[in-house]
């Protein structure tokens, strides 16, 4: 557990970066600090491992005040990942990852073994081991940064915008991998970002800070969406919060899935017409995996790939309401495709049914 108790940081030039912060990051959970640029996120994070010393107040690590500890020893207990990875340019990837174990006195050889395992864990091929940082893309460097912070198996991790240096696609990928990893390792993590999407996606709990270094709200992602503390938080969380909050509701049998008649590619127009309900028929492959929707009346001869409309997304029966609703809204037939975890068709649902299920569920109001 990491705890801030009335922590304030005023820089020598008078800027108050953090102002009377109380915050608790529970053990084994991922706590996210989010807020507009300059609100004191980085400052807060760096006070934990004492790269910055607080002006007043106390920070506790597992109930021990950090102020009395030897700074270097304290830091060795805490993994730290920074924005641009901050790799050592003069060391190979494997040696970068092995840094902490070696510093802690492990033999170089053993440390390298650990490092190689960790590299695999964060999705870096083993043949990267002997490369140098400049030979890696931004996203790959980020992974090395994460692996390096994990190498000493620290109980705590601090991450400062760890995925910001990469483009949106790679970023989403890194986030997914990281979530999977955290599920395995369950560290006590504080992560900084200024991207609310990232915060909502990753955080067990999210602390929203406002400029001036004050905490605006501390809540779980879904609480943040359904009960923003004030207009600043509501605004910061964004316009789509209704839709987004659906991302925290599981489908789990709340919506009845109807059977859907299907055809396969190569079917005749007549066959398709016969199976169609309304203007559209669902096309699946041999393994009952949905391929797309087709309009039988437009098929001349047999059903081919070019007849498919691909706009529909699909939802899994174990997924979220958000996916389900999108499947329905995006489907040209207005019937959303539901598949099981292996991607095989279960059936379809309509947006109306989904909305009914949503409306039936009480709004989650948190006591404040």
């Amino acid at each position: 557990m990491i705890k801030f108790e009335n922590v304030t940081k005023a820089y020598p030039d008078g800027t108050v970066a953090v102002d009377g912060l109380y915050l608790e990051a529970p053990t084994g959970k991922l706590t996210i600090l989010v807020g507009p640029s300059g609100c004191g996120k980085t400052t807060s994070l760096r006070m934990i491992n004492r790269l910055i010393e607080p002006t007043s107040g106390t920070i506790y690590l597992d109930d021990q005040p950090t102020s009395g500890m030897d700074a270097a020893l304290l830091r060795r207990r805490i993994g730290y990942v920074i924005q641009h990875a901050g790799l050592f340019p003069h060391r190979t990837i494997v040696d970068n990852v092995a840094t902490m174990p070696v510093l802690l006195g492990e033999s170089r050889q053993k440390a390298r073994m650990t490092a190689l395992e960790l590299m695999e864990r964060v999705g870096l091929p083993a043949n990267f081991a002997k490369r140098y940082p400049w030979q890696l893309s931004g996203g790959q460097q980020q992974r090395v940064g994460v692996a390096r912070a994990l190498a000493s198996d620290p109980a705590f991790m601090l991450m400062d915008e760890p995925f910001s240096a990469v483009d949106p696609v790679v970023r989403a990928q890194l986030q997914d991998e990281f979530l999977r990893l955290q599920r395995e390792i369950g560290k006590t993590i504080i992560m900084v970002t200024h991207d609310i999407d990232e915060a909502l996606k990753l955080g067990d709990q999210v602390a929203v800070m406002r400029v001036g270094g004050k905490l605006a709200q501390m809540a779980t992602p879904s609480e943040l969406l359904t009960s923003p503390a004030d207009a600043f938080v509501a605004d910061f969380v964004g316009r789509d919060r209704g839709y987004r909050s659906l991302g925290f509701t599981n489908v789990a049998g709340t919506v009845a899935v109807s059977e859907e008649a299907v055809v396969q590619l190569g079917a005749s127009a007549a066959e398709a017409q016969a199976r169609a309900s309304g203007a559209w028929v669902l096309v699946v492959d041999g393994g009952r995996k949905p391929l797309g929707w087709a309009q039988p009346e437009l098929i001349g001869g047999e059903l081919k790939r070019e007849h498919l409309n691909l706009s529909g997304t699909s939802a899994t029966s174990t997924g979220t309401m958000r996916q389900l609703l999108d499947a329905a809204l995006s489907s040209p037939s207005r019937r959303g495709v539901v598949v099981n975890d292996s991607g095989e068709l279960i059936g379809t649902v309509t947006a109306s049914d989904i909305v009914k299920a949503i409306e039936a569920e009480p709004h989650l109001e948190t006591a404040r």
């Binding site: 491992n49 901050g86 790799l87 050592f88 340019p89 400049w134």
Partner: protein, 216 residues
């Protein structure tokens, strides 16, 4: 070129070359050793930096001959002592490298330094294991300039009668004889290029991690 004269003087030239190498390389090594802590100091303190770099700049403008003559006063050495040359060139080397070392340490990305600190490196560990190794390319670039100019400067000591390749210039001048002068110039340039090349190799060896780019 009078080849016959050259072959006759071969032993002598080798002897002069040996001294030249010694007089040029010793200050380089000493200068680097002294400049490292000074440069680190300048890097650490924004107040010291302009002071040290300013003093260094001033030292350059002192003609080397004057420095050669001045040094016995300070060092208490004999006037013919090669130590005077070593001392003077060490001063120049230090003056040149203080700034280079400071700039080299400055050139280490802030992220890298912070990462080291955050991982629990103590200040000296970070300096020795991270900042200096990463600063090597910049230091070696400065070292190259120092090496090359040292070779050229040593020859000035000929005017003081300290034997090295510069002796070939005075000798040739007295006799109005081109062979020793040209031989001396060529040997100086070749020696400088060899030292330069050695530093490049050393740099490569120390920095297998840098992207291979055109050196300039």
């Amino acid at each position: 070129m009078n080849i016959e004269w050259l072959s006759r003087q071969f032993d002598n030239i080798v002897f002069l070359l040996g001294w030249h190498v010694l007089l040029a390389v010793t200050p380089l090594v000493l200068g680097l050793l002294i400049a490292l802590p000074l440069g680190w100091w300048a890097h650490r303190s924004r107040r010291i930096y302009p002071l040290l770099v300013g003093i260094a700049g001033l030292l350059y403008t002192v003609p080397s001959l004057a420095l050669f003559v001045l040094l016995p006063l300070v060092l208490g050495t004999k006037i013919l002592d090669p130590l005077n040359i070593v001392g003077a060139l060490t001063i120049y080397t230090v003056a040149l490298l203080v700034r280079v070392v400071a700039d080299a340490l400055d050139s280490v990305p802030e992220d890298t330094v912070q990462a080291a600190k955050a991982m629990g490196y103590r200040a000296y560990q970070s300096l020795l294991k991270v900042e200096l190794p990463v600063g090597v390319p910049v230091i070696s670039a400065g070292l190259r300039v120092a090496a090359v100019s040292n070779v050229s400067l040593v020859s000035v000591a000929a005017l003081l009668g300290i034997p090295q390749l510069g002796s070939l210039f005075t000798q040739g001048f007295q006799l109005r004889f081109f062979t020793p002068i040209i031989a001396g110039i060529i040997l100086c340039v070749v020696l400088a290029m060899i030292l330069d090349g050695l530093i490049i190799l050393l740099n490569r060896w120390l920095t297998p991690w840098t992207p291979k780019v055109v050196a300039s």
